[in-house]
Amino acid sequence: MSKVAEPTAAQPPPARRRVAHWWATAESLLEQAGERLNPILVKEARQALKSRLFVMTFGLLLICAWGGTIVGLAIIGPEAAFGFHGSTMFAVYFVILAFALLVIVPFGAFRSLAVEQEDRTYELLSITALGPAQIVRGKLTIALLQMLIYLSAISPCLGFTYLLRGIDFLTILYVLGWLVLASLGLSAIGLLLGTLTEQRQLQVILSVLTIVGLLFAFGFAIGLAMVVLFELPLPFSEPYFWTSSGALVSVYLSYMVLVYLAAVSRITFASQNRSTPLRVVMVVQHMLLTGWLAVLAIVEQIGAPRFYATCMILLVLHWYAMGSVMLGESPELSLRARRRLPQSFLGRVFLTWFNPGPATGYVFALCGALGGVAMTGIAAAAASSLGIGARRGPGPMPADRALGVLVLGVLFLCYAAFYLGVGLLLIRLLRRWARIDVLGAALIQVVLVLLGCGLPPVIQAMSLPWRSQGWTVLQVTNFFWTLSDFLDVGGFPPRTGELLVLLPSMALVVFALNLRAIRREIEYVRVAKPARVADEDAALAPPPPPPPRPSPWD
């Protein structure tokens, strides 16, 4: 009996099998990558794919881009073949893209957190294992994803502008790069605003303010882009341009990180140390600012006193703004935050100021401002003594102008110490009756500055003997008027000696009045972890076994 061969399943050809194998590998890799993605990104991407709003916005962007192309080409006419109309068409596409990236995406980021709070889904999200940083990062990533989708939708049009001539590739990249950065920054701000309040009425007000702010940013970006495209072409061949751009990008990114961390800290639970990461970023920003100041001064040989004075003012303003927010922190340090307080002498001397608290924040901001004044003062003195200024500016800075820069910095620092100190006193007083948070603290500073700078001129204008006089001692709290002469006149205005006695005295008195609060906050000491926490930590990460004792015979 002959054996009949059993029918075998038809095997696909080897090429198809290889493709199937690659496909399976790619699928498994994608799945593994998907596991690592932020859950919020996954959820919101799924939602967006089913959302009518997203489809409508995306469709509208495409329609506007096509419409813009048709209308633009109709206007340009046959000149498109031989003229230089790339800039004009790029401007059209920029307006369309900027609206999507600077208005729709950041507002979407703001609303996504705000809606979660309104619908109370945020509460459920917050009690999962997702950390606040993951939540904010997820929302920011989805904003980035939207940006990429809009950019990819309009990219053929942008390529088309290059073919039309009249605009170079670098300008397109540079402008788009800033647009993406601006969109990311605004989205981060949108997320921060979304965390500010849970009250519906305040959310409505915030929504309106956010829209207005975003439209303003949109208008500003269009204005800037038009200047770059049609008035002042970017000097790509100048090394100074790239240095300044690098400085601008790094400083911008540092503020973006600060805003991101601020949003994270707003949604972090109360007992967690929410301040130290922000203070670390502030120090990094300070180092960045002073670093770029040094780079610009040395590489570009800048010797103009106004440059150093401006840098100094920016640094003090940075610390003043940060200080005004830090004053709103709670003076009570949670037991959880106290578990990680520095213990060594040096740690307590240098790191205590990184601990949360309004008084430590006050001292931290003053130390930063003092560091800024000292560093720019030293830089100005060095520029003067080394004769820097040959390439830019009129020539080397005279020694008295360098001293003038330092005096200006000291006086500005005194103002910061005075206003922040008075703010801290007020907040301590108000906290007996009301809850003051970081927003309230910042608002108190705004009111104080308005009163300190706005009231004296009004009083002087109403007083008959003083009305006709210029600066009087009544204006001592008005730093705009008091310090403007230093910038306008340069050197030392006649009242310098008087101010150098009066302002430091005011600052010292206010500082002394706050000493009790400072002392209270620096007296916190480390506490041990609760036994249950220590047990769990030990169970999760058992301590490494002790190293084997070396044999005395080895």
Binding site: E35, V42, R46, L124, G131, S271
Partner: protein
């Protein structure tokens, strides 16, 4: 394990002059089902929200598995499944995606996540609705979904705030069965509800809160007893002279909480069946024409009505 799974220690929560929770302390041990009952506005939800780390106490602390909700909320959250009295659902998301999202949010990865979602959908009976958009679900199904969300990371402690509110009888019974199953699995459950008969059936311990104060805690029998002999609810129907019966009962020792209703008088009687028999004989000997005499043990509802005063703030 020496510590209780849930512990409230001198918990206070004030909203301005309102004392939503005023010095509440109790413990729930592993595997127990604790019924948290009280009138509307008594402070149940507030204390549950504090336990779920969604609110901060004004004073005092609460612990879940030995971890403070104030100092270590992150550790508490890993151990706790919270089902609030609202749904908290998203638009444009279906059932499976919703549970998958929460499984991811609880750091479940790969097969563990898929298994968790399948387990929860199977337990809640939502597997047949996996692809249905959440917004199209009925209230009962949404409640199941919320229970599933709270269960997806398999927490040892569950806090359920009014899980049966607004459900039809069938959905309520099904939900009750699910909670019973959870209790059988050894989970520690803190549950609040207005449907006291259901709570009585499934709770080991009951806490009664009114105007922010915990006024009684223990088993139903313990609360009923509260330092005295057990009481039974006695209902007596007489053919005439109900007022006279009321007056007569009022003079007898061991009788309290007398309520006259139509031809029936209802009261609490201290003692056991012998006391009931003695009372019935005495009534008949006194000439009352008793047409019906019934006695039953106090229900949770009776205890609740007896303990609370109906005060709101």
């Amino acid at each position: 394990m020496s510590h209780p799974m849930i512990e409230l220690c001198g918990l206070h929560r004030f909203f301005g002059s309102t004392r939503a929770v005023d010095d509440v302390s109790f413990q729930v041990h592993a595997g127990q089902v604790f019924g948290y009952i009280g009138p509307n506005g008594a402070g149940k939800t507030t204390s549950m929200r504090i336990l779920a780390t969604l609110d901060q106490p004004t004073a005092g602390d609460a612990f879940v598995d030995g971890f403070s909700v104030v100092e270590d909320p992150d550790r508490v959250r890993r151990r706790l499944g919270f089902m609030p009295d609202y749904f908290g659902t998203y638009a444009n998301v279906d059932v499976a995606e919703y549970l998958d999202f929460y499984a991811r949010a609880y750091r479940l990865r790969g097969p563990a996540r898929r298994q968790a979602v399948e387990r929860v959908m199977g337990f809640t009976g939502l597997d047949v609705l996996a692809d249905k958009p959440i917004n199209g679900l009925s209230k009962g199904m949404k409640q199941r979904l919320c229970l599933g969300r709270a269960l997806v990371h398999d927490p040892p402690v569950m806090v359920l705030d009014e899980p049966a509110a607004g459900l039809d009888p069938r959905a309520r019974i099904e939900l009750r069965e699910m909670i019973r199953d959870l209790a059988k699995q050894g989970k520690t459950i803190l549950i609040s509800s207005h449907i006291l008969t259901e709570l009585a059936e499934m709770c080991d311990v009951v806490g009664i809160i009114e105007r922010g104060k915990l006024i009684a805690v223990g088993t139903v029998d313990e609360i009923q007893g509260r330092g005295r002999r057990p009481h039974n609810v006695v209902e007596v129907a007489v053919l005439d002279g109900l007022d006279a019966v009321g007056n007569w009962l009022g003079r007898r020792a061991g009788v309290s909480a007398i309520r006259l209703d139509g031809q029936t008088v209802r009261f609490l009687l201290e003692g056991n069946a012998e006391a009931e028999a003695d009372l019935l004989r005495a009534m008949i000997e006194s000439g009352f024409r008793v047409s019906a005499f019934g006695a039953r043990r106090q229900t949770l509802e009776d205890v609740f009505m007896q303990v609370t005063q109906g005060l709101v703030q």
